[in-house]
C-alpha cells in the first residue's frame, strides 16, 4: 500500500519558504501508524526545501550517509523538480525526524525513510523527493500568478525564477514569503519529462567533497559534548559469557580515569536486541586515558555455553546436516524424480566463511540523557530502531530523543544494529554523565554480527539431450531468526536461501532447501547479505555444469534464461526478476571483455551475474598467473542495469567499490572461531585489499528504461564466482571454498 504523505508549508525565521513532506511513521520495529496531518506550525529548521529572501536555497538530505552517496543523490532529486541550478544549492543534513502530532498524539515521521539498508534510498526516494521539489515549485508558481494576477498554467520556471510569457521574471527569493502563505497543493503535482532533466542523470560529485578533503567533515566519532566522558569497554570474549571477577584498582589510579563500571550482556539464549556482551567500562577524560585504564583492568571472564565452540565444529555440524531433510523453501516439479531418471547428475559443495563488516570508522556513540530528553549523535544506518531502543531503555518519549546523523565511515550493514548505542545508554545511565563510547578495531572484529558461515550443496541433472532439467540447492547455515528480535515469524531460511534467484523458474524441476545449523555467535546483515551468500555457489556451479555438459558457460546461462520475461521474486528486490535484464548485463560484460576470443596462454576469463535488491550486475574478470604462481587480475569489467541512473558518477563509484570489496572478500577475508573466541583481532589478520591488489574496474551502466533502484550493493555478489571461474579457466583448478587466496599458492 502506498504511504500517504502530506505537504507542510511554512515561513522561515527570515521570512522565506519552508516546505516539508510529512509521513505517517513507520520504523522497522513498529507497525504502521495511521497518518494524521500535523498542525501547520512554522518549523524553520529541518525542512526539505528552504528558500530565503536573500536567495539562499537549502535542500535537506534525509538519509544516513554511509558512503553510498545519498547526501548528494537524494537532494539532486528535489533540486531537479524545484528547477534550480545544482551549483546554487546548499545541502543540509536533516536530523532523524519523528514527532508527536494531533490529539491523541501520534508519531509522525517528518521526512519519511531515513535509514540506509538494502539499497533502497533511491528506490524509495525517487518519486517522493521529486514530488517535494515539484510541489515547492508549484507553490512558487502560484505565488507568481497571484503577484502578476495571471493564470498559473501560463507560467514556467527556470533557474530559480518564475518566467512570465511577457518576459517578466520573479526570483524564487522574491516569491518565497508569498508562497509560504499559500495552501499546499492537494496531492501529487505533475513531474518533469525526463527529457527536461538538468540535474538527474548528470555526473555530480559528492556534495561533501571539500569538507572531506580538508578534514572538516563530521563523522559520528568526531562529535563532542561538554562534560562528556570517553568510554571504552572490555567485553567478555566468550559469547553469552559473563564477568566472574573484576579488579579495577590499577585502572582507577590512571590519571584521567573517572569511573569504572560493569554492564550486563544479553541473557544466554535470549534475544540479541541490545548490546552483545557483558563488559567493564572505563570512563575517562579522553580516549587514551580510558584505553590505558582498560589495559590495566584485571578481569576474569566466565565462559558461556559456547566456550568450546569453533569454526571447525561448526563446519562438521553443517556437513552432518546434509544427512537429513531440511525445510523446503521452494519446490517446482519433482527434483527427486528428475534425479532418478537423469542421464547424468552433477553435484558439488561450496563453503563460505563468517565475515566481519570492518567499517573504517569503528562503532561509536555519543549520548546525553537529560531527564525527559536525550541527545544521540552517532554514525547510524537505522536511526528509527535506535530511537525506539533508546526510548525503551530509558522511558524517554521518542519525540524527545534528538538523533543527529553525521556522516558514517562506512556501514555495510554493521550499523543496522544499534548494539553500540545500547552500550552507550547503559554506561551513561550508570555513570550519570554524557558518554562518548568508542570501539577499537579489536572490539569491532571480535564483537560483530557476522555474515553467517554456510555450506551449499548443489545438484543438477541433465536429460539425454544434455539439457538441465533438475536443480537442487541445499544450504546449511545459521538461521536468520537465530535469537533475532522481531523476526520470530519469518521463515528461518529467509536470508539464507535465495529461493527465487536464477536459475529458479528456468529449470523444470527445482528444489531449494534449508538446513539450520546452531552456532553460538550473533549473525547479521553483511553488505548485500543474501546475494553475496548465494552468488558464489550458484554461479560457480553454473560454470561447472556447463563444463561437465560440454557447453560454454555463457551459452548455458543464456539458454537457461530463455526468452526475456518476468518471473516472481518474493524476497527483497522483487516482486519480479527479469530474465532479459540478467542476460543483458551478462552479454554486456562478455562483450566488453572480449569473451570468446582466443585467450592469451596462462590467462583465463570468468563470468558471473546476480540479481541483487532489484538491480542486475555481471562481472567479467580476466586473470593471469605469474611465474611464481601469484594471481594477477588483468581486467575487471562490471556491467550493471539499475534502471534510470540518478548520478552516474556516484553509481560508477559504488560498482567500482563493490567490485573491490568483492575481490577483498573473495581472496582474503574470513572470521574464524576457536575455543569460543574470535581469532582475528585487527587488519593484519583481516586483510582488506590495499592499493597493490586493487585493479582498475571498468564499469558500464546499461541505458535502461526501468525505474531506478540503488547501487550500493549490486556490485559485490558476482565478483567471487567470476573470479573463481576465471581461475578455473586459467588453471583448470576449481576452488569451492572462500576465501580463495590461501589456496592459490602451490
Amino acid at each position: 500500500m502506498r504511504r500517504r504523505e502530506f505537504l507542510r508549508v511554512s515561513l522561515s525565521a527570515a521570512g522565506g519558504l519552508v516546505v516539508s513532506l510529512v509521513w505517517p511513521h513507520r520504523g522497522t520495529a513498529e507497525e504502521a501508524i495511521e497518518p494524521k496531518l500535523p498542525p501547520a506550525v512554522s518549523r524553520p529548521l529541518g525542512a526539505f526545501v528552504r528558500i530565503e529572501p536573500d536567495g539562499h536555497i537549502v535542500i535537506g538530505a534525509r538519509g544516513c550517509e554511509i558512503g553510498q552517496g545519498v547526501r548528494t543523490s537524494l537532494p539532486m532529486l528535489i533540486a531537479e523538480e524545484l528547477d534550480v541550478a545544482w551549483s546554487a544549492v546548499t545541502v543540509e543534513q536533516l536530523d532523524y525526524g519523528v514527532e508527536e502530532s494531533g490529539t491523541p498524539p501520534e508519531l509522525v515521521s517528518r521526512y519519511g525513510r531515513q535509514g540506509a539498508g538494502g539499497s533502497t534510498s533511491i528506490r524509495d526516494g525517487f518519486d517522493e523527493l521529486r514530488q517535494v521539489g515539484a510541489r515547492a515549485r508549484w507553490l512558487l508558481i502560484q505565488a507568481a500568478a497571484e503577484e502578476w494576477r495571471t493564470k498559473a498554467d501560463l507560467l514556467r520556471t527556470q533557474d530559480a525564477q518564475v518566467v512570465n510569457p511577457d518576459g517578466r521574471t520573479l526570483s524564487y527569493a522574491q516569491l518565497a514569503k508569498r508562497a509560504a502563505m499559500l495552501a499546499p497543493p492537494k496531492g501529487r503535482v505533475p513531474l518533469k519529462d525526463k527529457a527536461a532533466y538538468r540535474i538527474v542523470g548528470q555526473r555530480v560529485r559528492v556534495v561533501d567533497g571539500r569538507d572531506i578533503v580538508t578534514g572538516a567533515a563530521q563523522y559520528g566519532i568526531d562529535s563532542a559534548l561538554p562534560g562528556a566522558l570517553t568510554a571504552v569497554i572490555a567485553r567478555c570474549p566468550y559469547f553469552d559469557g559473563g564477568i566472574a571477577k573484576v579488579d579495577d584498582s590499577e585502572s582507577r589510579r590512571i590519571p584521567g580515569v573517572r569511573q569504572v563500571l560493569t554492564i550486563d550482556g544479553p541473557r544466554p539464549g535470549g534475544p540479541i536486541d541490545r548490546n552483545l556482551a557483558a563488559g567493564v567500562a572505563v570512563l575517562a577524560d579522553d580516549f587514551w586515558s580510558a584505553q590505558r585504564g582498560r589495559q590495566s583492568l584485571h578481569v576474569t571472564w566466565r565462559p558461556g555455553p559456547g566456550a568450546q565452540d569453533s569454526s571447525s565444529a561448526l563446519e562438521q555440524r553443517a556437513l552432518a546436516a546434509f544427512d537429513q531433510r531440511g525445510k523446503i523453501a521452494r519446490q517446482d516439479g519433482d527434483f527427486e524424480g528428475a534425479r532418478r531418471s537423469a542421464a547424468r547428475a552433477i553435484e558439488y559443495t561450496y563453503t563460505e566463511p563468517l565475515l566481519a563488516h570492518a567499517t573504517m570508522e569503528p562503532p561509536n556513540a555519543l549520548i546525553d540523557l537529560r531527564g525527559k530528553r536525550a541527545l544521540l549523535i552517532a554514525s547510524l544506518q537505522s536511526p528509527g530502531d535506535a530511537s525506539g531502543m533508546v526510548s525503551a531503555m530509558t522511558g524517554i518519549a521518542r519525540s524527545n530523543i534528538e538523533i543527529r546523523l553525521p556522516r558514517s565511515g562506512g556501514g555495510f550493514g554493521r550499523r543496522l544494529e544499534n548494539d553500540f548505542v545500547a552500550e552507550a545508554v547503559l554506561v551513561a545511565q550508570k555513570a550519570r554523565a554524557p558518554v562518548k563510547l568508542i570501539w577499537t578495531r579489536e572490539d569491532d572484529l571480535q564483537n560483530d554480527f557476522y555474515r553467517p558461515f554456510g555450506i551449499h550443496r548443489l545438484t543438477a541433472t541433465l536429460d539425454p539431450s544434455g539439457k538441465v532439467n533438475g536443480w537442487s540447492h541445499r544450504v546449511a547455515a545459521t538461521a536468520r531468526t537465530y535469537r533475532a528480535a522481531g523476526m520470530e515469524d519469518d521463515p528461518d531460511w529467509a536470508g539464507c536461501v535465495d529461493r527465487d534467484g536464477f536459475p529458479a523458474g528456468c529449470v523444470e524441476n527445482y528444489l531449494a532447501e534449508f538446513l539450520p545449523v546452531e552456532f553460538h555467535f550473533p549473525r547479521g546483515w553483511w553488505h548485500s547479505p543474501l546475494p553475496t551468500f548465494s552468488a558464489f555457489p550458484v554461479e560457480s556451479f553454473l560454470d561447472e555444469v556447463a563444463i561437465a555438459a560440454g557447453r560454454d558457460p555463457l551459452d548455458l546461462r543464456l539458454a537457461l534464461l530463455g526468452t526475456p520475461r518476468e518471473l516472481d521474486y518474493r524476497d527483497h528486490g522483487g516482486p519480479k526478476v527479469h530474465t532479459g535484464r540478467i542476460a543483458g548485463v551478462l552479454r554486456e560484460a562478455a562483450r566488453r571483455i572480449g569473451y570468446g576470443r582466443k585467450p592469451t596462454p596462462g590467462h583465463g576469463i570468468g563470468l558471473a551475474s546476480h540479481f541483487t535488491h532489484g538491480g542486475y550486475a555481471a562481472h567479467a574478470i580476466e586473470v593471469a598467473f605469474s611465474g611464481d604462481g601469484a594471481l594477477n587480475v588483468v581486467r575487471c569489467v562490471c556491467a550493471a542495469d539499475i534502471g534510470e541512473v540518478v548520478n552516474p558518477l556516484g553509481a560508477e563509484a559504488q560498482f567500482m567499490g563493490g567490485t573491490i570489496c568483492g575481490l577483498s572478500t573473495a581472496l582474503h577475508l574470513q572470521i574464524t572461531v576457536k575455543e569460543g573466541r574470535v581469532e582475528q583481532s585487527n587488519f593484519p589478520d583481516y586483510p582488506l585489499l590495499r592499493m597493490a591488489g586493487a585493479p582498475d574496474v571498468e564499469v558500464f551502466l546499461i541505458d535502461s528504461p526501468f525505474p531506478p533502484v540503488g547501487a550500493g550493493e549490486m556490485g559485490i555478489p558476482p565478483v567471487a564466482p567470476a573470479l573463481a571461474n576465471a581461475i578455473f579457466a586459467a588453471t583448470g583448478k576449481r576452488l569451492r571454498r572462500l576465501p580463495l587466496g590461501s589456496q592459490l599458492k602451490g
Partner: protein, 155 residues
C-alpha cells in the same frame, strides 16, 4: 615537563602522558578531528599526518617523539582559500565515498609526490593505506592528476 611542538604552524604545548599517541592528542586535545582512528597499530593509515613534512602514522607516534617537531594535519594542508593540488585532484576525480580514510590517503599522497614527483604505477602500488569503500582506482587517478598539477606549478 610540557612537550612543545608545532601544529599546523602554531606552537602547542602538551603536559599530559608523553606516551599518548599523537592521534589522540590531535583529536581529543587539539580538537583537530580530521585525522582519523582506524586501527591503532599503524597499519591502516587513516591517521596519517606529516611530521617535519614526512608522512607518519599518528596512532603509533607517541607525543614524546613530537617535541620540537612540526606536525601538519589535513586541516593544515590547504593554503588560505586555496586547496593543495592533491586535495583539488581528489575533488576532480570524485574520490571520496564514505570519506573516512581520505585524510590519511591525501597526506600519504602528498608525501609520495614530495619524494617522487613523477610516481610510477609501482610507486603508487606501494601505498598501504586501507580504503574499505574501494576507492583505490580513483585515488590512483587523483595522484597522477596531482603529480601533473604539481609539476606544472613548479615549471
Amino acid at each position: 615537563m610540557a612537550i612543545e611542538l608545532t601544529v599546523n604552524g602554531r606552537t602547542a604545548r602538551f603536559a599530559g602522558d608523553p606516551a599518548m599517541p599523537l592521534l589522540w592528542y590531535l583529536r581529543d586535545h587539539a580538537h583537530l578531528t580530521g585525522t582519523k582512528f582506524g586501527c591503532g597499530i599503524g597499519y591502516c593509515g587513516a591517521c596519517t599526518v606529516h611530521v617535519d613534512g614526512m608522512a607518519r602514522r599518528a596512532c603509533v607516534t607517541p607525543m614524546s617523539k613530537t617535541a620540537g617537531h612540526a606536525v601538519t594535519t589535513i586541516e593544515g594542508l590547504a593554503g588560505a582559500g586555496t586547496l593543495h593540488p592533491v586535495q583539488q585532484a581528489w575533488l576532480d576525480e570524485d574520490v571520496p565515498q564514505c570519506g573516512y580514510c581520505q585524510a590519511g590517503q591525501i597526506m600519504t599522497a602528498v608525501d609520495l609526490l614530495r619524494r617522487k614527483p613523477e610516481p610510477t604505477d609501482a610507486d603508487i602500488a606501494e601505498l598501504t593505506n586501507l580504503c574499505r569503500c574501494g576507492s583505490y582506482p580513483r585515488i590512483r587517478k587523483a595522484i597522477r592528476r596531482a603529480a601533473l598539477a604539481l609539476r606544472g606549478e613548479h615549471a
